[in-house]
C-alpha cells in the first residue's frame, strides 16, 4: 500500500479521528492507530454509532481491531474544531465582559477542558 510515491496510503491518517464503515453496515469512530497492507486497522477509543432515523447513539467500545476485508470505507473526521473553538471564543468573550454565570452554564462539561 506504500513505498511508492503517489499511492493511496493510510499512513498520514494515523492518529487521526476516523469513521470506518464496515460491510455489515456498522459505523465505528475512533483514532486510527495502526494499519497494514490488507487495510487491517487498529482503532483506539472506538465508539460505535447506531443511527435511528436522524438520531444516533454512541456505544464506547475501547480498542478495536478490524480485519481489512470488512472495511468498506474510511473517512477522516475533522473533529468539531470549529464548534469547540467558537465555544471557547464565546466563553472568553463572555468572561471578558464578566459574564461568568453564562460562561459556566454554556458548557459545564467543557469547564474541565478550559481551565482559563
Amino acid at each position: 500500500m506504500n513505498y511508492v510515491p503517489g499511492t493511496a496510503s493510510l499512513i498520514d491518517d494515523i492518529d487521526k479521528k476516523h469513521l470506518v464503515l464496515l460491510r455489515d453496515g456498522r459505523t465505528l469512530i475512533g483514532y486510527l492507530r495502526s494499519i497494514d497492507q490488507f487495510a487491517n486497522l487498529v482503532f483506539h477509543q472506538t465508539v460505535e454509532r447506531i443511527h435511528v432515523g436522524k438520531k444516533f447513539g454512541d456505544i464506547p467500545r475501547g480498542i478495536f481491531i478490524v480485519r481489512g476485508e470488512n472495511v468498506v470505507l474510511l473517512g477522516e473526521i475533522v473533529s468539531r474544531h470549529n464548534l469547540v473553538f467558537t465555544l471557547v471564543f464565546e466563553m472568553v468573550r463572555r468572561m471578558q465582559s464578566k459574564d461568568i454565570v453564562t460562561y459556566i452554564s454554556l458548557c459545564p462539561s467543557h469547564t474541565a477542558l478550559i481551565q482559563l
Binding site: G6, A8, A39, R80
Partner: protein, 96 residues
C-alpha cells in the same frame, strides 16, 4: 494496467459506486496497486443511499478496492482507443 490508468486520472472528479449501493462523488486523490481509492472533497450523489455519515464533516475518504463496483468517469477524460489498445497488448502478453 488499470493501476496506471487510474494514476492518469488523479485530480479528476469521479463517482465511485460501491457494492453496498453507495455512490460517492469526489476528486481522485490517489490510487494503489489494489485499486484502493482515496477521494477528497466528497459528496453524495445518490439520494442518501448513504448512512448519515456526512452529517459529520468527512471530507476525505479511503475506499477499499474490493468494495468498488464501478468508477464513473466523464467520457472526455478517457481516450478509449488508447485504453483498448493497451488492454489488447496486455492480453496478448498474458497469453504468451
Amino acid at each position: 494496467l488499470f493501476y496506471s490508468f487510474f494514476k492518469s486520472l488523479v485530480g479528476k472528479d469521479v463517482v465511485v459506486e460501491l457494492k453496498n449501493d453507495l455512490s460517492i462523488c469526489g476528486t481522485l486523490h490517489s490510487v494503489d496497486q489494489y485499486l484502493n481509492i482515496k477521494l477528497t472533497d466528497i459528496s453524495v450523489t445518490d439520494p442518501e443511499k448513504y448512512p448519515h455519515m456526512l452529517q459529520l464533516s468527512v471530507k476525505n475518504c479511503f475506499i477499499r478496492g474490493s468494495v468498488v463496483r464501478y468508477v464513473q468517469l466523464p467520457a472526455d477524460e478517457v481516450d478509449t482507443q488508447l485504453l483498448q489498445d493497451a488492454a489488447r497488448k496486455e492480453a496478448m502478453q498474458q497469453k504468451q
